[in-house]
Symmetry: C2
Subunit: 324 residues, 2 copies
């Protein structure tokens, strides 16, 4: 009745922005992501009669308020078996709070795998991914390994699967922490603004072509095309955000300074490309052979508070139970 | 055979972005602007047999390379009269070079008025505006006074006229200089990228509604609505730029820092709104009664290199000949 799971943060290359169904977390478009080896959540779930109530401990703190979504997710899973047992959940992120790195994807992926394993439910990867999605949309992408596609699907069929293995291509990802302020408007709220945006439908109309082109670039290990597509995509998502009503400006001044630095680095023939999510921090893509040069740039930049260098990682999996 | 003209920089509230005809400077959409009292060009034009060649002196420097467009514009005007006289043009901007403030609009407006006056051509405001447009598209908006609309029109009929007088509304505009680097891609080049952008057609489809709403806000002196519309519009133009191929990021890190400061000032109930053009500098709109508070904010900000506070100004007009 106890299990521990590891799950990576996943980084979208083709973004999930805009919810078609906010209860089922169904997206308006398919998305593509990679799992990051250096950013992850480890979660232990134990169901037991010895507990008098459900308890959630996140990064060493017993949580009361923020746990509704967690307990709701546990109910989804617990209701599949015949048990009255209460649950104890202990979860840790390897990145500190307030870094602007979202823990919901890795968190709900780890929670889903640990809870279903603790209850001895034998779920397929597809079913795990589907179930994780109900907890937090993009969590479905932290279940499969490597390069992942979340096909938008429909009510009964929306989950993620591996499109290329983690060893397919030795690219590296540097996640750089530039600002730590909380967002003014959460991405959950932001998602709901997407459809009111006049440009959003044009984005949806064209996105499948972009998905096909990105898969082709990954397949061919065509780093320059890969980089151009992911930058175009992230700028497009932020263009959609900026033209929402109210406008959402998720990037900061430091983000823009560093983006312009990336353009300069490329002029100096260092191939490096960026993406960013609904926040100010940047993720840099580069080839493993350029890691030393990239680290030098990052070490010398005073605006960078911290950075993590990842490889493309495996998906969620069970690990030895060392947190209790 | 000699005349001197003053013309203001004009600031677009509904932007001109995207050229339908690059030789005739015809825009894809109508635009709205205000003339700025504190940023201007004064140009003296003299036609005389005593000159052996055409000479252009800009801000005290005799120019050779940058003057093709100027001489081409003079030819347009000179060809309307029967003269072989060479020209001497002396032009001064009251803002230093490299501030990122475009001098082409005020420059071509002043040049058009001074040159046609020196040749004693009696042109109507409409004809002056049309002629200025051929020199530099947005120069047509620096001819009429106050709040100005440039109706996109067609080949034979595209010019600007006053929609509200300069005394209609006592708003103020602070132009703040944040960065002085030259642009990577000129706005002339940028204009040509607009149509390849998938969102641009959606912008054009919706822009007339926005123009009507902005005119209504100016008419009613509804500052909050006015501010919301101009910010939405400037963010939309930059969204279009960001999603061009190649992407254009005209704003800088400092621009974004200050935009977020403006959002904070509004939370503290200081009504101030921004717009920006194809560059990093911001123009802040506020009511004259808040000028003291705004100046305090600007004086305390270390990122601001210089600022200019304008009223809504008159259009181009002849002034006494004090530069020769």
């Amino acid at each position: 009745m106890k299990a521990t799971a590891w799950a990576p943060v996943n980084l979208a290359l083709i973004k999930y922005w805009g919810k078609k169904d906010k209860d089922l977390n169904l997206p308006w478009n398919s998305s593509i992501s990679v799992n990051l080896s250096s950013l992850y959540t480890i979660t232990t779930v134990e169901f037991s009669k010895k507990y008098r109530r459900d308890t959630v401990i996140i990064d060493g703190e017993k949580k009361k308020n923020e746990v509704d979504r967690v307990i709701q997710h546990i109910e989804r899973i617990r209701s599949q078996v015949d048990t009255e047992d209460r649950v104890k959940i202990v979860t840790r992120n390897n990145f500190p709070k307030g870094t602007g790195i979202a823990s919901s994807a890795s968190g709900f992926a780890a929670l889903t795998l640990a809870a279903t394993s603790a209850l001895n439910l034998k779920l397929s990867e597809k079913d795990l991914s589907t179930l994780a999605r109900l907890g937090s949309g993009s969590a479905c992408r932290s279940i499969p390994s490597g390069f992942v596609e979340w096909k938008k699907g429909d009510k009964n069929n929306s989950y993620a699967k591996t499109i290329f293995s983690k060893d397919h291509w030795s690219i590296r990802i540097a996640t750089i922490i530039l600002d730590e302020q909380p967002k003014e408007i959460s991405s959950t709220q932001g998602h709901l603004l997407a459809l009111s945006n006049p440009f959003f439908k044009v984005r949806l109309k064209n996105i499948n072509k972009k998905i096909i082109a990105l898969k082709q670039a990954i397949k061919n290990k065509d780093f320059i095309n890969f980089g151009k597509i992911i930058e175009q995509e992230t700028l497009e998502m932020h263009a959609i955000m900026m033209t929402s009503n109210p406008p959402l400006l998720y990037f900061s001044g430091n983000t823009v300074f560093f983006i312009k630095k990336i353009f300069l680095l490329r002029k100096k023939r260092l191939p490096v490309f960026f993406t960013l999510d609904a926040g100010p921090n940047l993720h840099l893509f580069f080839l493993s052979k350029n890691e030393k040069q990239i680290k030098k740039v990052l070490d010398e930049d005073k605006n960078i508070k911290k950075y993590y260098i990842s490889e493309v990682a495996t998906g969620a999996h069970l690990v030895s139970d060392h947190l209790f």
